[in-house]
Amino acid sequence: MSVLPVAPPAASAEDPGPLGTLATAARRVATMCLVELQRLRHDRSELVTRAVQPALWLLVFGQVFTRIHAIPTGDTPYLDFLAPGILAQSALFIAIFYGIQIIWERDAGVLSKLLVTPTPRMALVTAKAFAAGVRAVAQAVVVLLLALVLGVALSPNPLHWLGVVVALLLGSAFFCCLSITIAGLVLSRDRLMGIGQAITMPLFFASNALYPVELMPGWLQVINHVNPLSYEVEALRGLLIGTPARLWLDFAVLLLAAAAMITIASSLLPRLVRG
């Protein structure tokens, strides 16, 4: 028993300043990302099962539409055009159900336990958001390997790949926090499941993931312009297969959208705990 850590005196429990809070937030993000990787290491089968749907999109939808030339994508083969869209879709599907996880964590007492640690609410939500991103990036490796096998011409530039990781992290952070926000409003897993399913496909179809923006009807183009998934796809497509992209705009939108949604989700966390 003598080896047990001894409690510090109460006087040592000082509040950190703003810089200390920022450093705490960075450490919490790193911790939650590490835990997400540990979970993945223990259960690798999830990487495979989650790869089935994107694989079907690439293998069936991508190859068929490439052959029939139904969707004009200029000089870019349709499968190449589609691969970044499916990558973003795969990340979206992972992140959008993190709200269900947080409701499970509330019911299982995990959320309470996390909130009794010296972790600011916003740091906890940010950490969850980037943990979703880590899982999305791990999934992206599988999808991109499949794309390579199917002959998609991906950029060999490591900086482009770094950009892909950042885009996936930011996109996943946004959709994870959107999901946590909805969880904070509806407070039940069943309702969140329904809403998650109801919004995921519209988000996907109202983006440039499957077809170029120019082919969309006017009303859909308007939705596309306010859909963060479109900016994520545009960035991924520009980085991976070299199509024209407004990378500064794409990353700015993703960063702002993620920051805004982290703020909103954090403000709803107390309601989630009380609910």
Binding site: M1, S2, V3, L4, P5, V6, A7, P8, A10, A13, E14, D15, P16, T24, R27, R28, T31, L34, V35, Q38, R39, H42, D43, D107, A108, G109, V110, S112, K113, L114, L115, V116, T117, P118, T119, P120, P270, V273, R274
Partner: protein, 276 residues
């Protein structure tokens, strides 16, 4: 076990609640509680479901807002310095909250990181608490292979890895068989003797409270109905009275109507189900 009044009262209480109140809409969950938990004692909050125990615990642990001055932990105002108070607390919720996907060691290391245990001390500290709860041998196994009692002990280790000054346990033995229950309490007693830490516990189990708590506050309808050592409380009712009798005496005939909401029952069943 230290009896009430056996030692001199410390200057600063481990926990002090002054006129604590919490209402949810028209329902008053906690109705003006005054409490002092002394450093180093095991203090039990007893009462039927809906008595206000969990609400009180949630306010002390910063999970629910408290007005300034209403709660102090070692002299620190919970309302003003939440983060500082959290550094003094180790919390084990009623539900089974360990991550079944991770190993025991990873579960404890997570909380070492969340409490900013320095990297150079982290491994040793994780090993020390795993040893203290008798789980070092199985520390690298996934938690989903643990028994209910092992999970509870692991959660103790998670709460202890930051060397808290107050260990807060919300129904720590609910759903456990008697052997596992004793195992959990044996570890709590050993750790308390080794560290001098204060333990604040809620429970329904009268025998457990009688055997383990230095002092008890019996709550009913959001108020403290009786406060003292188990012996004092029993003695006040009669020479042969048990703590069960004390409980019935103070909670009256309304016990059946106050057996908690659907969510309480669901949570208890879920915990019992996961414990197997």
């Amino acid at each position: 076990m230290t009896a009430i009044g056996a030692g001199p009262p410390a200057d600063v209480p481990a926990v002090r609640c002054t006129g604590l109140r919490q209402a949810f809409g028209d329902t008053v969950a906690v109705d003006g509680i005054d409490l002092e938990v002394r450093p180093g004692e095991v203090f039990g909050l007893l009462g039927p479901n809906g008595a206000g125990k969990t609400t009180t615990i949630r306010m002390i642990t910063t999970l629910l807002p408290a007005p300034p001055g209403a709660i102090e932990v070692f002299g620190i105002d919970v309302a003003r310095r939440r983060s500082a108070v959290r550094r003094l607390l180790g919390y084990v919720p009623q539900q089974l909250s360990a991550d079944g996907t991770l190993s025991g060691r990873e579960n404890v290391a997570l909380f070492a990181r969340l409490f900013d245990v320095p990297r150079r001390d982290r491994d040793a500290q994780v090993d020390a608490v795993l040893t203290a709860v008798d789980l070092l041998d199985v520390a690298d196994r996934q938690v989903k292979t643990y028994s209910g009692g092992m999970v509870r002990r692991l959660e103790l280790a998670q709460a202890l890895v930051s060397a808290p000054r107050v260990l807060v346990l919300d129904e720590p033995t609910v759903g456990l068989d008697p052997v596992a229950r004793d195992g959990v309490w044996d570890r709590i007693t050993d750790i308390r003797l080794a560290t001098g830490m204060t333990v604040l516990v809620t429970t329904h189990a009268m025998q457990e409270a009688d055997a383990q708590c230095d002092r008890i506050a019996l709550m009913h309808r959001g108020r403290v109905q009786a406060l003292g050592t188990p012996a004092d409380l029993r003695g006040a009712l009669g020479p042969d009275a048990t703590l069960d009798d004390v409980f019935r005496h103070h909670t009256g005939d309304t016990l059946a109507d106050r057996s908690g909401g659907l969510r309480d029952v669901r949570a208890a069943r879920r915990t019992a189900g996961r414990l197997g």
